[in-house]
Amino acid sequence: MKRFVVQNGWTIGLAVLLGLLLIVTKLIQPDFGLSGLDSLGRASLPFALATLGMAVVVIAGGIDLSLASLMAVCSVTAAVLMDGRGEVAAVPIVLGVLVLGACLGAVNGSLIVVSRVPDIVVTLAMMFVWDGTALLILNAPGGGAADWLRGLIVGGVVPKSFIFLAVVALGVWLPIRRSKLGLMLYALGSDAQAAFRSGVPVKTTKIASYAIAGLFAAFGGMAVTMSTGIGEPIPGPYLLASVAAVVLGGVSLTGGKGGLLGPVLAVFILRLVRLDLTLLAVDPNVTVIIEGVIMIGVVMLGGVLALRGQRT
């Protein structure tokens, strides 16, 4: 028991913080209940999925700056293809977009491996490429989505958006975490050279980490299209938010440490802070500033912590 607490101290702390924030929200808005949780879940869904993708890449020792743009590509592709088609035709389209996301992520990873340029530079360049691709597919917000997709994340006794997130996260991550690939991802993140010498196929593992991130980005892009019913070619504010949530969630930016639960809890914490500010009738533009300051603060804290970790 004690060992469990020590090992998962950070995550438990986050869960306690989240609980406190929920109580605060309830105090500010006494009738905050199921419908409030439902809209919170839906608003957090793209952020949570982007964060999951970012967390996998960061654990494997990389960083994917093109994630938000990749989400935009998947969102517009799905919206354009589904526009005017029937409810049944949407099924293969959704599956196709998920495969597309994984493939585009694999393209990012392969370019890093082939060009030997650091992750952060390659994904910065790819951010522009995917931005442009999304704009070429759809010049302005538009397209359509099948109705049953929206039904997947709206309402429910336990809000369906939470169930959707849990199913996606566990469905993708659990088999990977339990398999050899999961071990290799962590090994690559802790020390690439040691991993290479222990026989980890470093290049394939790196590409796999980006492909998994691409898959989560595709889910995230689908979540945007699902909740709005249209495709959005301009990437949302998911990039920085996901990096901040990953850092706050206890995943070290130097790689190899942390899990996926912490970052997801961090997403809900950041979203709840925003919700509370809105409930307190703070100007939404001021909310943007406060959010930005929190995110910068979190990454600065992460930087200082990483620095300390190196010294000891």
């Binding site: 340029v117 522009f128 931005d131 442009g132 010049n139 920085l240 910068i296 990454v299």
Partner: protein, 324 residues
Amino acid sequence: MSVTETIPPFSRALRLMRDYPMLPLGLLLAALVILLEILQPGIINSRWLANTIKVAIPLAMLAACQTLTMLTGGIDLSVGIIATVAAFVTGTLSPLVGVPSAVAVSLVLALLLGLLNGFGVAVCRVHPLIMTLGTGLVATGLMQVYQRYVIATGSKIPDFLQWLGIGRTLGLPNSIVLFVPFAALILWAQKRSGFGRLLYAMGSNEKAARLSGVRGWQVLMALYVLSGLIAGITGLLYLGMIKQASLSLAVPLLLPSVAAAVIGGTSIFGGRGGFGGTIIGALILTVLGTMLTLMQMPEGGRRILFGLIVLAVTALFVRLTDNT
């Protein structure tokens, strides 16, 4: 003769590129201009030349921020927003408090944003990319709040900025008056001043620089403040050129500014390159932009192209430095 026989021609070309990076850049620029003339005969004249220089100057100035930060292995992704902040504040405050104080306030703001970048990068050791993105986000939020208080007062573009931005003397744009001393200063500072050499030292090997007694965090702090200041001045120039204060004024220049520095031979990993190449890089991008406009390339295609250029050039430089 025996030396030329033992080295295959391809790696000889690569070696030439590494030793004289300006040479292939100049050739590329000339080739692009010739291609433009073939695509649209008669386009190359003195008017076109003046126009190209005019468009390239703010780009080259923002690219100076990227060049200097890249020398230390960093990058500054907040320059587009800092330039916009300076321009927007000057434009909207001028009718309220007069031109000199408006310019002073906007430059102080640019300095403060640079200081925030510097604090995050130098003291907290956040990766410059993430730190400057975050600063950009905060600055955007600040501007949106600020906009609501000044939206009624209207805006005014100071006369001297208009003269600088769109005026011409003897067929040449007036912004040269600002740019030539600026470029001379940067070119001098990067190679001849102590600060410039510290930048190269930090970028080549930060640990070694630190062990040699360089106070790394002070250098980085000064660098990002300087970068913010340059971005602010560019914003003022751009305001005079576009003659409209808006919240997305200089933001589209961000990506080309990174591309100009990278094309100009400055390594994104630090320690290599300089502002001379960046100026040619900015000219290349401007000519390329004219060409893409002629071919009616949509905005999406442009972004893809810029992204791929940055990726290809950095990959090439990794190969070049690996061989040494």
